[in-house]
Protein backbone atom coordinates (compact mmCIF):
# COMPACT_ATOMS: atom_id res chain seq x y z
CA UNK A 1 0.00 0.00 0.00
CA UNK A 2 1.45 3.41 -0.96
CA UNK A 3 1.73 6.14 1.73
CA UNK A 4 -0.98 8.15 -0.07
CA UNK A 5 -3.37 5.19 -0.03
CA UNK A 6 -2.46 4.57 3.61
CA UNK A 7 -3.39 8.11 4.62
CA UNK A 8 -6.66 8.09 2.67
CA UNK A 9 -7.78 4.58 3.64
CA UNK A 10 -9.08 5.29 7.18
CA UNK A 11 -11.22 8.36 6.33
CA UNK A 12 -12.63 6.60 3.27
CA UNK A 13 -13.40 3.52 5.36
CA UNK A 14 -15.23 5.70 7.90
CA UNK A 15 -17.15 7.42 5.14
CA UNK A 16 -18.08 4.05 3.65
CA UNK A 17 -19.18 2.88 7.11
CA UNK A 18 -21.42 5.93 7.54
CA UNK A 19 -22.99 5.39 4.12
CA UNK A 20 -23.42 1.67 4.77
CA UNK A 21 -25.11 2.39 8.12
CA UNK A 22 -27.56 4.74 6.43
CA UNK A 23 -28.68 1.84 4.24
CA UNK A 24 -28.58 -0.75 7.02
CA UNK A 25 -30.54 1.44 9.44
CA UNK A 26 -32.89 3.47 7.21
CA UNK A 27 -35.38 3.97 10.04
CA UNK A 28 -32.72 5.18 12.46
CA UNK A 29 -31.39 8.10 10.46
CA UNK A 30 -32.16 10.51 13.31
CA UNK A 31 -29.95 8.43 15.59
CA UNK A 32 -27.15 8.27 13.00
CA UNK A 33 -27.43 12.02 12.49
CA UNK A 34 -27.14 12.53 16.25
CA UNK A 35 -23.91 10.51 16.15
CA UNK A 36 -22.55 12.70 13.37
CA UNK A 37 -23.34 15.86 15.34
CA UNK A 38 -21.56 14.40 18.36
CA UNK A 39 -18.55 13.53 16.18
CA UNK A 40 -18.20 17.23 15.35
CA UNK A 41 -18.44 18.18 19.03
CA UNK A 42 -15.92 15.51 20.07
CA UNK A 43 -13.52 16.59 17.29
CA UNK A 44 -13.65 20.11 18.73
CA UNK A 45 -12.87 18.71 22.17
CA UNK A 46 -10.02 16.65 20.75
CA UNK A 47 -8.42 19.77 19.29
CA UNK A 48 -8.74 21.60 22.60
CA UNK A 49 -7.98 18.79 25.06
CA UNK A 50 -6.28 16.06 23.05
CA UNK A 51 -3.91 18.30 21.09
CA UNK A 52 -3.54 21.51 23.09
CA UNK A 53 -3.91 19.85 26.50
CA UNK A 54 -6.53 22.34 27.69
CA UNK A 55 -8.48 20.51 30.39
CA UNK A 56 -12.13 21.41 29.95
CA UNK A 57 -15.51 20.17 31.06
CA UNK A 58 -17.37 23.05 29.47
CA UNK A 59 -17.29 22.43 25.73
CA UNK A 60 -21.10 22.44 25.81
CA UNK A 61 -20.97 26.22 26.38
CA UNK A 62 -19.78 26.78 22.82
CA UNK A 63 -22.08 24.08 21.49
CA UNK A 64 -25.06 25.76 23.13
CA UNK A 65 -23.99 29.22 21.96
CA UNK A 66 -23.80 27.93 18.38
CA UNK A 67 -27.16 26.19 18.70
CA UNK A 68 -29.02 29.24 20.07
CA UNK A 69 -27.29 31.63 17.66
CA UNK A 70 -28.12 29.49 14.63
CA UNK A 71 -31.69 28.94 15.85
CA UNK A 72 -32.34 32.63 16.47
CA UNK A 73 -30.69 33.56 13.18
CA UNK A 74 -32.93 31.10 11.31
CA UNK A 75 -36.09 32.41 13.05
CA UNK A 76 -35.39 36.14 12.81
CA UNK A 77 -32.96 36.70 9.93
CA UNK A 78 -32.32 33.99 7.39
CA UNK A 79 -33.08 30.29 7.45
CA UNK A 80 -30.30 29.25 5.07
CA UNK A 81 -28.50 26.22 6.62
CA UNK A 82 -24.96 27.13 5.54
CA UNK A 83 -25.33 30.73 6.73
CA UNK A 84 -26.64 29.31 10.00
CA UNK A 85 -23.56 27.12 10.37
CA UNK A 86 -21.39 30.20 9.93
CA UNK A 87 -23.36 32.03 12.59
CA UNK A 88 -22.98 29.04 14.92
CA UNK A 89 -19.22 29.01 14.32
CA UNK A 90 -18.95 32.75 14.95
CA UNK A 91 -21.01 32.51 18.17
CA UNK A 92 -18.96 29.57 19.45
CA UNK A 93 -15.67 31.23 18.62
CA UNK A 94 -16.64 34.57 20.21
CA UNK A 95 -17.68 32.87 23.45
CA UNK A 96 -14.51 30.74 23.43
CA UNK A 97 -12.28 33.73 22.70
CA UNK A 98 -13.78 36.00 25.34
CA UNK A 99 -13.88 33.33 28.04
CA UNK A 100 -10.54 31.94 26.84
CA UNK A 101 -8.80 35.25 27.55
CA UNK A 102 -9.40 34.54 31.24
CA UNK A 103 -9.50 30.73 31.24
CA UNK A 104 -6.19 30.27 29.47
CA UNK A 105 -4.40 32.06 32.29
CA UNK A 106 -5.26 29.13 34.55
CA UNK A 107 -4.34 25.46 34.63
CA UNK A 108 -5.50 22.13 36.00
CA UNK A 109 -8.36 21.96 38.46
CA UNK A 110 -8.95 25.73 38.42
CA UNK A 111 -9.31 25.64 34.66
CA UNK A 112 -11.72 22.70 34.75
CA UNK A 113 -13.90 24.40 37.36
CA UNK A 114 -13.95 27.67 35.42
CA UNK A 115 -14.96 25.93 32.17
CA UNK A 116 -17.85 24.32 34.03
CA UNK A 117 -18.75 27.73 35.45
CA UNK A 118 -18.83 29.34 31.98
CA UNK A 119 -21.25 26.66 30.72
CA UNK A 120 -23.39 27.03 33.86
CA UNK A 121 -23.57 30.82 33.40
CA UNK A 122 -24.61 30.38 29.76
CA UNK A 123 -27.24 27.85 30.87
CA UNK A 124 -28.64 30.31 33.38
CA UNK A 125 -28.65 33.21 30.93
CA UNK A 126 -30.56 31.07 28.39
CA UNK A 127 -32.97 30.04 31.13
CA UNK A 128 -33.62 33.62 32.29
CA UNK A 129 -33.87 35.18 28.83
CA UNK A 130 -37.12 33.34 28.26
CA UNK A 131 -38.49 35.90 25.80
CA UNK A 132 -35.58 35.31 23.47
CA UNK A 133 -34.57 31.70 24.06
CA UNK A 134 -37.83 30.10 25.15
CA UNK A 135 -36.33 29.32 28.55
CA UNK A 136 -36.96 25.84 29.88
CA UNK A 137 -39.38 25.14 27.00
CA UNK A 138 -36.59 25.53 24.51
CA UNK A 139 -36.27 27.55 21.33
CA UNK A 140 -38.95 26.44 18.89
CA UNK A 141 -40.14 27.54 15.48
CA UNK A 142 -36.94 26.87 13.57
CA UNK A 143 -37.81 26.07 9.96
CA UNK A 144 -34.82 25.73 7.71
CA UNK A 145 -34.71 26.41 4.00
CA UNK A 146 -33.50 23.59 1.74
CA UNK A 147 -29.76 22.91 1.82
CA UNK A 148 -28.15 24.71 -1.16
CA UNK A 149 -31.70 25.65 -2.16
CA UNK A 150 -32.28 22.09 -3.39
CA UNK A 151 -32.52 19.56 -0.56
CA UNK A 152 -35.41 20.19 1.81
CA UNK A 153 -35.28 18.74 5.32
CA UNK A 154 -37.68 15.80 5.41
CA UNK A 155 -39.55 13.97 8.16
CA UNK A 156 -37.51 10.76 7.80
CA UNK A 157 -34.25 12.66 8.20
CA UNK A 158 -32.56 11.74 4.93
CA UNK A 159 -31.46 15.29 4.11
CA UNK A 160 -30.41 15.86 7.70
CA UNK A 161 -28.21 12.77 7.65
CA UNK A 162 -26.42 13.61 4.39
CA UNK A 163 -26.07 17.25 5.38
CA UNK A 164 -24.53 16.27 8.74
CA UNK A 165 -22.24 13.75 7.04
CA UNK A 166 -21.00 16.44 4.65
CA UNK A 167 -20.32 18.77 7.58
CA UNK A 168 -18.44 16.00 9.43
CA UNK A 169 -16.23 15.40 6.37
CA UNK A 170 -15.43 19.11 6.03
CA UNK A 171 -14.71 19.52 9.75
CA UNK A 172 -12.61 16.34 9.86
CA UNK A 173 -10.45 17.52 6.94
CA UNK A 174 -10.18 20.99 8.50
CA UNK A 175 -9.06 19.64 11.87
CA UNK A 176 -6.68 17.16 10.20
CA UNK A 177 -5.05 20.01 8.27
CA UNK A 178 -4.76 22.17 11.40
CA UNK A 179 -3.21 19.42 13.48
CA UNK A 180 -0.62 18.61 10.81
CA UNK A 181 0.32 22.27 10.26
CA UNK A 182 3.02 23.95 12.38
CA UNK A 183 0.21 25.42 14.48
CA UNK A 184 -1.03 21.94 15.39
CA UNK A 185 2.49 20.70 16.04
CA UNK A 186 3.05 23.60 18.40
CA UNK A 187 -0.17 22.69 20.25
CA UNK A 188 1.16 19.18 20.83
CA UNK A 189 4.44 20.69 21.96
CA UNK A 190 2.57 22.92 24.41
CA UNK A 191 0.65 19.88 25.66
CA UNK A 192 3.93 18.09 26.42
CA UNK A 193 6.07 20.98 27.64
CA UNK A 194 4.73 24.55 27.73
CA UNK A 195 8.04 25.91 29.07
CA UNK A 196 9.99 24.36 26.21
CA UNK A 197 7.60 25.77 23.62
CA UNK A 198 7.92 29.21 25.20
CA UNK A 199 11.71 28.91 25.10
CA UNK A 200 11.62 28.13 21.38
CA UNK A 201 9.61 31.23 20.68
CA UNK A 202 5.95 30.26 20.96
CA UNK A 203 3.55 32.44 22.93
CA UNK A 204 1.90 29.64 24.87
CA UNK A 205 -0.94 31.81 26.15
CA UNK A 206 -2.03 33.09 22.73
CA UNK A 207 -1.63 29.68 21.11
CA UNK A 208 -3.92 28.22 23.77
CA UNK A 209 -6.44 31.04 23.30
CA UNK A 210 -6.36 30.44 19.54
CA UNK A 211 -6.83 26.68 19.93
CA UNK A 212 -9.70 27.23 22.36
CA UNK A 213 -11.30 29.69 19.94
CA UNK A 214 -10.99 27.36 16.94
CA UNK A 215 -12.33 24.50 19.07
CA UNK A 216 -15.19 26.79 20.14
CA UNK A 217 -16.02 27.56 16.50
CA UNK A 218 -16.21 23.84 15.69
CA UNK A 219 -18.36 23.16 18.76
CA UNK A 220 -20.56 26.06 17.61
CA UNK A 221 -20.95 24.36 14.22
CA UNK A 222 -22.03 21.16 16.02
CA UNK A 223 -24.61 23.13 17.98
CA UNK A 224 -25.88 24.90 14.87
CA UNK A 225 -26.17 21.58 13.06
CA UNK A 226 -28.20 20.18 15.92
CA UNK A 227 -30.51 23.23 15.98
CA UNK A 228 -31.09 23.09 12.23
CA UNK A 229 -31.75 19.35 12.03
CA UNK A 230 -33.84 18.88 15.20
CA UNK A 231 -35.49 22.33 14.79
CA UNK A 232 -35.27 22.75 18.53
CA UNK A 233 -32.71 24.15 20.97
CA UNK A 234 -33.12 23.16 24.59
CA UNK A 235 -31.27 24.22 27.73
CA UNK A 236 -29.62 20.80 27.62
CA UNK A 237 -27.35 22.24 24.94
CA UNK A 238 -25.41 23.92 27.75
CA UNK A 239 -25.57 20.98 30.13
CA UNK A 240 -22.68 19.54 32.08
CA UNK A 241 -23.84 16.07 30.97
CA UNK A 242 -23.19 16.93 27.34
CA UNK A 243 -19.65 18.13 28.10
CA UNK A 244 -18.98 15.08 30.25
CA UNK A 245 -20.32 12.66 27.65
CA UNK A 246 -18.18 14.26 24.96
CA UNK A 247 -15.16 13.83 27.23
CA UNK A 248 -15.99 10.17 27.85
CA UNK A 249 -16.33 9.58 24.10
CA UNK A 250 -12.92 11.14 23.54
CA UNK A 251 -11.27 9.14 26.32
CA UNK A 252 -12.85 5.95 25.01
CA UNK A 253 -11.57 6.51 21.49
CA UNK A 254 -8.20 8.02 22.38
CA UNK A 255 -7.24 11.65 22.93
CA UNK A 256 -5.03 13.53 20.49
CA UNK A 257 -6.03 11.27 17.60
CA UNK A 258 -8.80 12.29 15.24
CA UNK A 259 -9.84 8.74 14.44
CA UNK A 260 -9.99 8.14 18.19
CA UNK A 261 -12.54 10.92 18.51
CA UNK A 262 -14.67 9.42 15.74
CA UNK A 263 -14.34 5.84 16.98
CA UNK A 264 -15.05 6.80 20.60
CA UNK A 265 -18.20 8.65 19.60
CA UNK A 266 -19.43 5.75 17.47
CA UNK A 267 -18.84 3.17 20.19
CA UNK A 268 -20.29 5.29 22.99
CA UNK A 269 -23.41 6.19 21.03
CA UNK A 270 -24.09 2.64 19.87
CA UNK A 271 -23.46 1.11 23.30
CA UNK A 272 -25.57 3.84 24.89
CA UNK A 273 -28.36 3.22 22.36
CA UNK A 274 -28.26 -0.55 22.85
CA UNK A 275 -27.90 -0.48 26.64
CA UNK A 276 -30.60 2.14 27.16
CA UNK A 277 -33.00 0.18 24.92
CA UNK A 278 -32.40 -3.04 26.87
CA UNK A 279 -32.33 -1.58 30.37
CA UNK A 280 -33.56 2.01 30.60
CA UNK A 281 -32.68 2.21 34.33
CA UNK A 282 -29.20 0.68 34.54
CA UNK A 283 -27.63 1.53 31.19
CA UNK A 284 -25.10 3.80 32.88
CA UNK A 285 -23.58 0.70 34.47
CA UNK A 286 -22.63 -0.60 31.01
CA UNK A 287 -21.07 2.73 30.04
CA UNK A 288 -19.17 2.88 33.35
CA UNK A 289 -17.86 -0.67 32.94
CA UNK A 290 -16.76 0.12 29.40
CA UNK A 291 -14.89 3.26 30.48
CA UNK A 292 -13.19 1.37 33.31
CA UNK A 293 -12.14 -1.43 30.96
CA UNK A 294 -10.69 1.01 28.44
CA UNK A 295 -8.85 3.06 31.09
CA UNK A 296 -7.32 -0.11 32.58
CA UNK A 297 -6.53 -2.13 29.47
CA UNK A 298 -6.21 0.52 26.73
CA UNK A 299 -5.16 3.74 28.46
CA UNK A 300 -4.49 5.39 25.11
CA UNK A 301 -8.02 4.61 23.95
CA UNK A 302 -9.64 1.99 21.77
CA UNK A 303 -7.85 3.38 18.72
CA UNK A 304 -4.55 2.14 20.22
CA UNK A 305 -5.83 -1.43 20.04
CA UNK A 306 -5.32 -1.38 16.26
CA UNK A 307 -1.60 -0.61 16.67
CA UNK A 308 -1.28 -3.38 19.26
CA UNK A 309 -3.07 -5.80 16.95
CA UNK A 310 -0.79 -4.83 14.06
CA UNK A 311 2.27 -5.48 16.26
CA UNK A 312 0.86 -8.88 17.27
CA UNK A 313 0.26 -9.87 13.64
CA UNK A 314 3.74 -8.66 12.66
CA UNK A 315 5.24 -10.64 15.54
CA UNK A 316 3.32 -13.75 14.55
CA UNK A 317 4.53 -13.41 10.95
CA UNK A 318 8.16 -13.08 12.13
CA UNK A 319 7.74 -16.07 14.39
CA UNK A 320 6.26 -18.10 11.53
CA UNK A 321 8.98 -17.24 9.01
Amino acid sequence: MTPLMKSWAPPLALLALAIALSFLMPFNLAFLTRILIMVVLVLSLDLVLGYAGIATLGQAAMYGAGAYAAGLFAIHVWADPLAGLMIGAVAGSILAFVSGLVLMRTQGLTLIMLTIAVAAICHEIANKARDITGGADGLRGIHMEPVLGMFAFDFVGTTGFWYALAVVVVIFVFVALITRAPFGLSLRGIHESPDRMAAIGVSVYWRRVTAYTVGGAIAGVAGALSAQITQLVSLESFSFTLSAEALIMLILGGTGRLYGAVLGTLIFMFVHHWAAANDPFNWLFVIGAMVLAVVFFLPKGIISASAGLARLIKGARHAGS
Binding site: R188, A199, G201, V202
Partner: protein, 236 residues
Amino acid sequence: MTDAGLRLDNVTAGYGPTHVLDRVNLRLEPGERLAVIGRNGAGKTTLLATIMGLTKLHEGSLTLNGAPIQGLAPHKRSALGLGLVPQTRDIFASLSVEDNLLSARRGDATLEEAYALFPRLKERRRNGGAQLSGGEQQMLAIARTLMTSPDILLLDEPLEGLAPVICEQLMQVFEDLASDGRRSVVLVEQQAAAALSFANRAVLMANGAIVHDGPAAELRNNADLLNRHIGVSLNA
Protein backbone atom coordinates in the same frame (compact mmCIF):
# COMPACT_ATOMS: atom_id res chain seq x y z
CA MET B 1 32.76 49.14 23.84
CA THR B 2 29.40 48.94 22.02
CA ASP B 3 25.95 47.94 23.26
CA ALA B 4 25.94 44.86 21.00
CA GLY B 5 25.63 41.49 22.69
CA LEU B 6 24.18 40.32 25.96
CA ARG B 7 24.75 41.98 29.30
CA LEU B 8 23.80 40.97 32.83
CA ASP B 9 24.25 43.57 35.55
CA ASN B 10 24.07 42.66 39.22
CA VAL B 11 21.58 39.87 38.54
CA THR B 12 20.09 38.07 41.51
CA ALA B 13 17.60 35.39 40.47
CA GLY B 14 16.14 32.04 41.43
CA TYR B 15 13.01 29.95 41.61
CA GLY B 16 10.15 31.60 43.49
CA PRO B 17 11.51 33.30 46.58
CA THR B 18 14.76 31.28 46.48
CA HIS B 19 17.92 33.09 45.41
CA VAL B 20 20.27 30.96 43.31
CA LEU B 21 22.24 33.55 41.37
CA ASP B 22 23.96 36.15 43.51
CA ARG B 23 24.76 39.53 41.91
CA VAL B 24 26.03 38.11 38.64
CA ASN B 25 27.71 40.44 36.15
CA LEU B 26 28.39 39.06 32.70
CA ARG B 27 28.96 40.40 29.22
CA LEU B 28 28.81 38.37 26.01
CA GLU B 29 30.12 39.91 22.81
CA PRO B 30 28.68 38.98 19.40
CA GLY B 31 30.41 35.91 17.99
CA GLU B 32 32.06 35.07 21.30
CA ARG B 33 32.51 31.52 22.58
CA LEU B 34 31.99 31.41 26.32
CA ALA B 35 32.42 28.40 28.59
CA VAL B 36 30.65 28.32 31.93
CA ILE B 37 32.02 25.74 34.34
CA GLY B 38 31.48 24.93 37.98
CA ARG B 39 30.41 22.19 40.33
CA ASN B 40 26.87 20.83 40.50
CA GLY B 41 24.62 23.40 42.12
CA ALA B 42 26.93 26.30 41.28
CA GLY B 43 24.13 28.06 39.38
CA LYS B 44 25.14 27.35 35.76
CA THR B 45 21.74 26.07 34.62
CA THR B 46 19.99 28.86 36.52
CA LEU B 47 22.21 31.37 34.74
CA LEU B 48 20.99 30.16 31.33
CA ALA B 49 17.40 29.86 32.55
CA THR B 50 17.57 33.45 33.82
CA ILE B 51 18.87 34.68 30.48
CA MET B 52 15.88 32.94 28.83
CA GLY B 53 13.41 34.37 31.36
CA LEU B 54 12.53 31.03 32.95
CA THR B 55 13.37 32.08 36.53
CA LYS B 56 12.30 34.85 38.86
CA LEU B 57 14.54 37.88 38.64
CA HIS B 58 14.90 39.48 42.06
CA GLU B 59 17.40 42.21 41.25
CA GLY B 60 19.54 43.52 38.43
CA SER B 61 19.06 43.99 34.73
CA LEU B 62 19.55 42.12 31.47
CA THR B 63 20.09 43.88 28.17
CA LEU B 64 20.36 42.49 24.66
CA ASN B 65 21.98 44.75 22.08
CA GLY B 66 21.37 47.68 24.41
CA ALA B 67 17.66 47.01 25.00
CA PRO B 68 16.39 45.78 28.37
CA ILE B 69 14.91 42.29 28.22
CA GLN B 70 14.30 41.49 31.89
CA GLY B 71 10.55 42.12 31.57
CA LEU B 72 10.12 40.01 28.47
CA ALA B 73 8.50 36.56 28.36
CA PRO B 74 10.67 33.64 27.15
CA HIS B 75 9.03 33.52 23.71
CA LYS B 76 9.84 37.19 23.13
CA ARG B 77 13.47 36.65 24.15
CA SER B 78 13.58 33.76 21.70
CA ALA B 79 12.24 36.05 18.99
CA LEU B 80 15.06 38.50 19.78
CA GLY B 81 17.65 35.82 19.07
CA LEU B 82 18.22 33.85 22.26
CA GLY B 83 18.08 30.07 21.91
CA LEU B 84 18.38 27.60 24.78
CA VAL B 85 19.16 23.90 24.46
CA PRO B 86 18.07 22.59 27.86
CA GLN B 87 19.89 19.98 29.88
CA THR B 88 16.71 17.90 29.96
CA ARG B 89 16.45 18.09 26.13
CA ASP B 90 12.61 18.13 26.39
CA ILE B 91 12.03 16.34 23.12
CA PHE B 92 8.33 16.18 22.24
CA ALA B 93 7.82 12.44 22.47
CA SER B 94 4.53 12.38 20.56
CA LEU B 95 6.01 14.18 17.54
CA SER B 96 8.30 12.74 14.91
CA VAL B 97 11.84 14.09 14.50
CA GLU B 98 10.71 16.20 11.55
CA ASP B 99 7.66 17.52 13.39
CA ASN B 100 9.83 18.41 16.41
CA LEU B 101 11.92 20.54 14.07
CA LEU B 102 8.95 22.07 12.26
CA SER B 103 7.28 23.01 15.54
CA ALA B 104 10.14 25.46 16.17
CA ARG B 105 10.85 26.76 12.66
CA ARG B 106 11.25 30.50 12.37
CA GLY B 107 12.84 32.88 9.87
CA ASP B 108 15.02 31.37 7.15
CA ALA B 109 15.77 28.13 8.97
CA THR B 110 15.22 25.01 6.87
CA LEU B 111 15.04 21.30 7.53
CA GLU B 112 17.86 20.81 5.01
CA GLU B 113 20.23 22.91 7.15
CA ALA B 114 19.33 20.90 10.23
CA TYR B 115 19.84 17.62 8.39
CA ALA B 116 23.15 18.84 6.92
CA LEU B 117 24.37 19.48 10.46
CA PHE B 118 23.02 16.17 11.79
CA PRO B 119 22.64 13.62 8.95
CA ARG B 120 21.53 11.04 11.52
CA LEU B 121 18.36 13.04 12.11
CA LYS B 122 17.47 12.81 8.43
CA GLU B 123 17.71 9.03 8.60
CA ARG B 124 15.39 9.03 11.60
CA ARG B 125 13.09 11.86 10.52
CA ARG B 126 9.95 9.70 10.62
CA ASN B 127 10.74 8.22 14.04
CA GLY B 128 9.00 9.46 17.16
CA GLY B 129 10.92 11.59 19.62
CA ALA B 130 10.69 8.85 22.24
CA GLN B 131 12.35 6.32 19.92
CA LEU B 132 15.68 8.14 19.77
CA SER B 133 18.90 7.33 21.62
CA GLY B 134 20.35 9.86 24.06
CA GLY B 135 22.78 11.18 21.46
CA GLU B 136 20.08 11.50 18.83
CA GLN B 137 17.83 13.29 21.30
CA GLN B 138 20.62 15.76 22.02
CA MET B 139 21.16 16.32 18.29
CA LEU B 140 17.43 16.92 17.89
CA ALA B 141 17.34 19.32 20.85
CA ILE B 142 20.19 21.34 19.33
CA ALA B 143 18.74 21.24 15.80
CA ARG B 144 15.31 22.26 17.10
CA THR B 145 16.77 25.31 18.82
CA LEU B 146 18.73 26.19 15.67
CA MET B 147 15.40 26.19 13.78
CA THR B 148 14.61 29.39 15.70
CA SER B 149 17.66 31.05 14.05
CA PRO B 150 19.28 32.20 17.32
CA ASP B 151 22.09 34.77 17.45
CA ILE B 152 23.07 33.53 20.89
CA LEU B 153 23.04 29.77 21.45
CA LEU B 154 22.88 28.69 25.08
CA LEU B 155 23.92 25.05 25.53
CA ASP B 156 23.21 23.49 28.92
CA GLU B 157 25.44 20.47 29.52
CA PRO B 158 24.96 19.02 26.03
CA LEU B 159 27.53 16.26 26.57
CA GLU B 160 25.98 14.87 29.72
CA GLY B 161 25.57 11.09 29.65
CA LEU B 162 26.73 10.69 26.04
CA ALA B 163 29.31 8.26 24.63
CA PRO B 164 32.75 9.79 23.93
CA VAL B 165 32.35 9.38 20.17
CA ILE B 166 29.06 11.32 20.24
CA CYS B 167 30.66 13.99 22.43
CA GLU B 168 33.40 14.43 19.82
CA GLN B 169 30.81 14.75 17.05
CA LEU B 170 28.86 17.33 19.01
CA MET B 171 31.97 19.36 19.86
CA GLN B 172 32.76 19.44 16.13
CA VAL B 173 29.22 20.71 15.46
CA PHE B 174 29.71 23.47 18.07
CA GLU B 175 32.97 24.41 16.33
CA ASP B 176 31.14 24.62 12.99
CA LEU B 177 28.32 26.69 14.50
CA ALA B 178 30.70 29.18 16.07
CA SER B 179 33.29 29.27 13.29
CA ASP B 180 31.70 31.99 11.16
CA GLY B 181 31.66 34.39 14.12
CA ARG B 182 28.06 35.45 13.53
CA ARG B 183 26.63 33.44 16.39
CA SER B 184 27.68 33.58 20.04
CA VAL B 185 27.80 30.25 21.83
CA VAL B 186 27.57 29.82 25.60
CA LEU B 187 28.58 26.31 26.62
CA VAL B 188 27.73 25.20 30.15
CA GLU B 189 29.55 21.95 30.73
CA GLN B 190 30.78 19.64 33.48
CA GLN B 191 33.49 18.37 31.14
CA ALA B 192 35.75 21.33 31.80
CA ALA B 193 38.53 20.23 29.44
CA ALA B 194 36.19 20.03 26.43
CA ALA B 195 34.49 23.32 27.29
CA LEU B 196 37.75 25.21 27.82
CA SER B 197 39.30 23.94 24.58
CA PHE B 198 36.21 25.10 22.67
CA ALA B 199 35.80 28.54 24.25
CA ASN B 200 37.90 31.67 23.97
CA ARG B 201 36.57 32.99 27.27
CA ALA B 202 35.46 31.20 30.40
CA VAL B 203 33.66 31.96 33.61
CA LEU B 204 33.89 29.83 36.72
CA MET B 205 30.86 29.73 39.00
CA ALA B 206 30.56 28.79 42.65
CA ASN B 207 27.60 29.24 45.01
CA GLY B 208 25.61 31.22 42.46
CA ALA B 209 28.34 33.76 41.81
CA ILE B 210 30.99 34.22 39.14
CA VAL B 211 34.35 33.74 40.86
CA HIS B 212 36.51 34.00 37.77
CA ASP B 213 36.04 35.56 34.32
CA GLY B 214 38.84 35.57 31.78
CA PRO B 215 40.42 33.89 28.76
CA ALA B 216 39.71 30.17 28.60
CA ALA B 217 43.39 29.32 28.11
CA GLU B 218 44.28 31.24 31.28
CA LEU B 219 41.73 29.31 33.35
CA ARG B 220 42.85 26.05 31.82
CA ASN B 221 46.36 26.70 33.13
CA ASN B 222 45.22 27.86 36.56
CA ALA B 223 45.40 24.52 38.36
CA ASP B 224 44.93 26.09 41.77
CA LEU B 225 41.63 27.80 40.86
CA LEU B 226 40.27 24.75 39.05
CA ASN B 227 41.23 22.48 41.92
CA ARG B 228 39.63 24.74 44.45
CA HIS B 229 36.33 25.18 42.64
CA ILE B 230 35.74 22.07 40.57
CA GLY B 231 38.22 19.62 42.03
CA VAL B 232 40.15 18.87 38.86
CA SER B 233 43.47 19.87 37.41
CA LEU B 234 43.56 19.85 33.63
CA ASN B 235 47.37 19.95 33.46
CA ALA B 236 47.84 16.88 35.59
